[in-house]
């Protein structure tokens, strides 16, 4: 019996070796593609409908602290600045946007904290 198992394992290994050094593929890192945001987000599909940067699309060049209505779209109800993975804004625009929001907060056009969070 021991010989049989050994033989079976030997035969199993032999074809693998004969195929040309095919090792068992390693786990190939995390799942293929990783899944944006991690695949453990409640079974959501891969790319949830690519978000585009609003400023790039509409070609808004200047993000001023004075246009409160534009800035208020990127501020949560609590007054916090919404992260760019939720709004889809590109990095340079997000940096300018957050600078403008902070300036607006300083001049009392936007609140520092909205509802009690």
């Amino acid at each position: 019996m021991a010989d049989e198992t050994k033989a079976s394992t030997a035969t199993a290994e032999a074809p693998a070796v004969s195929e040309g050094h095919t090792q068992r593929p390693p786990s190939r890192g995390p799942r293929p593609g990783g899944g944006p945001g991690g695949p453990r987000e409640g079974g959501r599909k891969y790319f949830r409908r690519k978000k585009v940067c609003k400023f790039c699309v509409e070609k808004i060049e200047s993000i001023n602290y004075k246009d409160v209505r534009l800035l208020a779209q990127f501020v949560a109800e609590s007054g916090k600045i919404v992260p760019r993975r939720l709004t889809g804004v590109c990095t340079p625009h997000q940096r300018r946007l957050s600078c403008a929001i902070k300036q607006a907060r300083n001049i009392a056009l936007l609140p520092f904290a909205g509802r009690a969070m």
Partner: protein
């Protein structure tokens, strides 16, 4: 050499109109004595503040655009800090931003001018060339 600044300040809401005019003219004279120019003065009217500033809920916003050297804004801010009716101010340097915007605009205008002209003759040329190639 000259820098452009945007100075926005909030004045308490119970201030009289002529006092506000006096304050603005004082600032303007301060600007011209330091060798700068006032580009524009914009009164944005009474607005509700996002949070209470010195126990006020509303304020009169004024936007002042000046052009001058660096020391000018230092002087203006000092004056505003001392002035009692002014409850908040913010100064932003905007000449770099204006340069950038002008550059983008120039590129866009250049592109627009180039675009309409070629399509008429170039389209025929372009259509003729690729089919043969």
């Amino acid at each position: 050499m000259n820098r452009t600044y945007e100075l926005m300040f909030i004045v308490r809401p119970d201030m009289a109109e002529e006092d506000l005019d006096k304050l603005i003219s004082t600032l303007e004279t301060a600007v011209s004595t330091s060798g700068g120019t006032v580009k524009s003065v914009e009164r944005m009217g009474k607005r509700r503040l996002a949070y209470t500033v010195r126990r006020f809920h509303d304020g009169v916003y004024v936007l002042l655009t000046v052009e001058g050297l660096g020391g000018l804004i230092h002087e203006l801010e000092r004056r505003l800090r001392v002035t009692e009716p002014v409850i908040k101010f913010l100064s932003v340097r905007i000449d770099e931003e204006q340069k950038r915007l002008a550059k983008i605009k120039a590129i866009r205008d250049a592109r627009k001018k180039v675009a309409p002209a070629p399509p008429a003759p170039a389209a025929e040329g372009a259509e003729a060339a690729p089919p043969t190639a």
